[in-house]
Symmetry: none
Subunit: 222 residues, 2 copies
DNA sequence: AATAAAATTTAGACAAATCTAAAAAATAAA
DNA sequence: TTTATTTTTTAGATTTGTCTAAATTTTATT
């Protein structure tokens, strides 16, 4: 088994990874504000991470994760998201209350544990927020899964699941020509009632309610 | 939610609780050897635990957990044993490989998590080693256990717990087909070395040493 | 280009948990 | 009851991660 890093180091790696993904480049101040700490503390940690060969860093010149740092970060993210999935799917937590708990669970070190958990959960591809879960080799599936309420406007996506399986919703979706595999995009979101206007290729726009939108899951590549 | 204690403090509370249960009284050296640390470190921690009102302590005069310390210790034990149960029952771990992982998991702080886990597991009463799991109020199910040395001759009993949980003893017991729930009786006790001859139904007699006998707990109807 | 502002780093401190070596107290042995 | 031994505690150091305040470097602005 690989070396063990402290929770604090793991948290820095994860934060840097996320900021790198979003902004391409990361600054000391970014990390400090992301981690609710002081820039001086970040500098201290950058040196340690560099000494541990997880980070490329030249002072005043910026920094970024190297291959090893990225690998570690991905394993933390994998653990975080698998635990979130577990909390929601098995322990009936709401998707909005699992983050804090997963922040602790992600630092449990056993690799065997996380691989067994993955298996137990049926190798989920995305966490309850729709974020992809890296596999045990740290590979992403670049597909995000979200419900229609959270699909960005003009993002073409493919219907991948229906939450509520009642005959009623299926009838409704059938009538609007929405089925598994249908490719569609959101054209407009109405703040008034959270209803949504969709466009399916070669068809005229259709509108669905918030209630329906919540139960239609789609996936798309980033 | 109650105050949060560091993993280290929690480990000390747990160790002191265990030693208190076994020996009635606990010494600095006991704790040091149980925790693989130095007596000086134990003294340092005793002061901290006293300052936190988890321990009654007068220097050179000994120490013991107070009500609050016992309460915290029981919650850690509850968490440890529920996680062990989870690992064995849901993730298919062997009962001899879960201790280390549970040592980490027991420090996850969320009380809601552990209560949900308890529910998910069906409110188990004992962990995979046969040790009782305290409920969320810290109450034991007081199953009286005797070790094999104290089991009367010809009294049929059921294996309910293993004291030392090292991989070595578990391997030995496994080889002799002694596991939780095994029904057996003591056929002979040898005064010379306190070894014991056991009989398990439909099997030929096996002999175990005093050392092993001391660590195998059984329950039986009187 | 010179100066002002912002970002980053250093210097020095602190808290938690641990350690070693030495001192103090309690216990056991002569 | 002295003396010897063991147990426990203190004193002072170390490591990790954090902080504040000051210094340095970079960047933006006259």
């Amino acid at each position: 088994m690989g070396p063990k890093y402290s929770s604090s180091r793991e948290n820095y790696l994860k934060a840097i990874f996320h900021l790198q993904e979003i902004h391409g480049t990361v600054t000391t101040n970014d990390v400090a504000s992301e981690m609710q700490t002081r820039p001086a503390s970040v500098t201290d940690m950058l040196k340690k991470l560099k000494a541990q060969k997880l980070l490329l860093y030249e002072k005043y010149k910026g920094f970024k994760l190297n291959t090893e740092g990225r690998k570690v970060a991905l394993q933390i993210i994998r653990k975080h998201r698998l635990w979130e999935f577990f909390l929601v799917e098995k322990l009936r937590f709401g998707w909005d209350e699992v983050h804090e708990i997963a922040e602790e669970l992600e630092h449990i070190s056993s690799k065997k544990l996380i691989d067994r958990l993955d298996e137990f959960l049926g190798y989920p591809k995305t966490d309850p927020h729709g974020d992809p879960i890296p596999d045990s080799q740290g590979r992403w599936t670049l597909t995000r899964q979200v419900d229609l309420l959270n699909l960005p406007i003009n993002q073409i996506a493919e219907v991948s699941g229906i939450g509520d399986q009642s005959a009623e919703i299926l009838e409704l979706l059938n009538h609007k020509h929405i089925a598994l595999g249908t490719r569609l995009e959101v054209k407009k979101k109405f703040a008034f009632d959270n209803s949504i206007e969709l466009k399916i290729k070669n068809q005229s726009p259709v509108t669905i309610s918030e209630h329906v939108a919540k139960n239609v899951f789609v996936k798309y590549d980033e």
